[in-house]
Symmetry: C2
Subunit: 400 residues, 2 copies
DNA sequence: GACAACTGTCTAAGCGCTTACATCTACTGT
DNA sequence: ACAGTAGATGTAAGCGCTTAGACAGTTGTC
């Protein structure tokens, strides 16, 4: 039976390659007149091969255009060198497109990819609609194809996350802790929201607020709101006029403010704080529909620093999350854990940064003429300390 | 030696799983008291297994939480069920972020993923900086990890694409044909640009243009420009005042228009046509800096329909590419080719769609008051026929 | 009762690598 | 001259799965 095997070493045409020119390690070995072990050693360098042999083998590899089969390597090495990333999909529908935190997930993705690329690992991607009932199933079967998994908060429940983490190392991005088995990398929503609220209260002297909350299931929304409320509570003279809840979408922000405007008796706040930028965009649209100017009649702020924020009129004051770093750190942490699954789990909080633009009432002078000039990205001004400091500790930024 | 092998079937603890609870097909077989073949058949259904056995095996699988190893399956099936997607990276730097066609690539990605997900295949992602010298190397080694590759135009040269296609099926997205071996899926830039230009000439009666071209290496830019020029050439009374070349970035658009404004003698066109939206944004910024209103003083149009386009002031008239469909079609085509590499290569052109907003001079009435009201996405108006018609044939849209 | 035709299950080869171990040379020191 | 050592290379097991082919048991046919 070994004889047959040996014969197979000498075969070249593999019928299933269907005209594609694919060669194996055996082909290289045969052509170079060495054993497969030697070819493998040449390929990986980490073993002594004589210079002559190495040269000969390299030449054959070059000539055949040999590329090692990833599946075979994974199987043999007992390591796939692949990380899976599962995040929320956006639908193809343009409305839903705006509504989801689309740019956020894509930025995280780029961060992860860059980290992996540097280590020569690969990235396997999958998206799930929010609340997709088959999400867990998909994640679970994905665990057989990767060495570790990066999962966005909100894809699957806590209990399922724990089950998953028993099979494969898991890092949760932008979420909260789930049991002792998963790592978490998230942004300092609390500090960001605190800085933003203090900016409004202490610098602009705003005394009455409307708050547009995010979905109750989102830990992010929770933290942002609780920070907001804590600042309000510290200032006796400041009042939270009313609150509404949105879904993080532009449309829901618009509706929230429409509803607020229709309230009887009408109670106009001095500022509207939205749990994310999309809703802030919706809020501004709604206000514009009622001929209310931002920030003259009412200030509006968001959270996230999505791409179009600086192009808006007025440019949106918001809090920047280190989105790409979130991906980078999550990935780095995951790789550590893959190397030692026994590592104690940690929760890593990256600093956020207050971006003061115009919609809060700041701006050059008393706010210049309206118009396209507003579209410049130059309005961005960094308020918190140095950006992207190496430290990953929460940085409580002073409010102004 | 076979005896050793048999013994190994009975082993359960695999030292290298390091505390992660991973079980193999053999574990299942042993616990269920059947052979691995039977477990495999139960898993895949496509073979007759008695109801009793099936139930017993399923229970064991459930109990162990067994997930098949992807690498082993790939190796054994001689098919990885993985597609690779390589597109252009954006840097982390926010300036560069704006400059690249970031949203475009991400949209394509989502289209590809959705198609793959439906078939239970996986998606391997990699990004390359534009002009990355190691791009080919990375693509080449990726070919050992996937069954097919989707590559953005501009990542590697034509000759390298051909070499790649000899190893693994390749589909090029948003590009032009490269030899007989790769498929191409692209958008109908020519028709889109024609419709846009005709809209300006025939509806708005514009008689003088400035054109901001894209990089000369981009086939997209070429097509857009040639369509533009052909329309101009058909109208004797219309003049192309001047032309400049940008890099598709916001900044380059701004610079192009700054340069145009500084020209001596000053020659102000009635409209500025930009080869993409980013440059159009830059153009509008530059004009605003010189107190020139869009579209009152000069009309500006772009191409691509990037996300912020509808949020701008004024909302940007542009041409929509079916970005997500581009990904979907590329993927579908690739899967066909994976199943039959001998298929003749095709070039598939998806229809584009003129989106008339405000920056061309359209808009409700004679353009309402400036201000946040402009941010509404409602300004979008579809001019060409029904959107997303099933047909993939170029659709030459009438200019108005 | 012999034989064919199923049916359900098992055996074991093989997918293309990596790598522990065995082997073979060529030196070195005594 | 010979054991000892180190360097270069070969051998073959094994990674976890799929599946062709073997095999035993059951039914149906004449």
């Amino acid at each position: 039976m070994r004889l047959e095997s040996k014969e197979s070493w000498l075969r070249l045409g593999r019928p299933w390659t269907w005209g594609l020119d694919v060669s194996t390690l055996y082909d290289c070995a045969r052509l170079a007149g060495v054993s497969t072990a030697t070819v493998s050693r040449v390929l990986h360098g980490h073993d002594r091969v004589s210079a002559t042999t190495r040269a000969r083998v390299l030449e054959v590899i070059q000539q055949l255009g040999y590329v090692p089969d990833g599946a075979a390597q994974s199987l043999s090495r007992r390591r796939k060198q692949v990380i899976g990333l599962v995040s929320v999909d956006r639908a193809s529908d343009p409305i839903a497109l705006e509504s989801s935190s689309l740019l956020f997930a894509d930025e995280v993705l780029h961060g992860v990819e860059a980290t992996l690329r540097a280590k020569d690992w690969s990235l396997l991607i999958s998206f799930c609609g929010e609340g997709d009932p088959r999400a867990f199933e998909r994640l679970y079967s994905m665990s057989g194809k990767v060495d570790g998994l990066i999962v966005s908060e909100g894809i699957v429940g806590s209990e399922q996350l724990v089950r998953l983490a028993a099979k494969v190392p898991v890092v949760v991005v932008a979420g909260s802790r789930h049991g002792a088995s998963t790592d978490v990398v998230t942004a300092d929503n609390y500090a960001g929201s605190t800085a933003l609220t203090r900016h409004l209260v202490e610098l602009h002297g705003i005394r009455s607020f409307h708050y547009v909350d995010g979905p109750s299931s989102a830990p992010n929304a929770l933290e942002r709101r609780s920070a907001f409320e804590n600042v309000i509570a510290k200032h006796k003279e400041v009042e939270l006029v009313s609150t509404s809840r949105g879904t993080f979408s532009v449309e829901s922000g618009r509706r929230a403010v429409e509803a607020m405007l229709k309230e009887q008796p009408p109670r106009m706040p001095e500022a509207i704080v939205c749990a994310n930028d999309h809703m802030a965009i919706g809020a501004i649209q709604a206000l514009a529909g009622h001929a209310l100017a931002v920030p003259e009649d009412v200030a509006v702020v968001g959270f996230d620093d999505i791409y179009p924020g600086s192009l808006l009129d007025p440019p949106l004051t918001t809090v920047r999350q280190p989105t790409r770093s979130l991906g980078e750190r999550a990935c780095a942490r995951l790789l550590e854990r893959v190397n030692d699954p026994a590592l104690p789990s940690v929760i890593e909080v990256l600093p956020t940064e207050l971006l003061v633009r115009v919609s809060c009432g700041c701006g050059e002078g008393t706010r210049g003429a309206r118009g396209p000039a507003r579209m410049s990205a130059q309005h961005r001004r960094t308020v918190s300390g140095s950006r992207r400091s190496g430290s990953s500790k929460p940085r409580r930024t002073a409010g102004s």
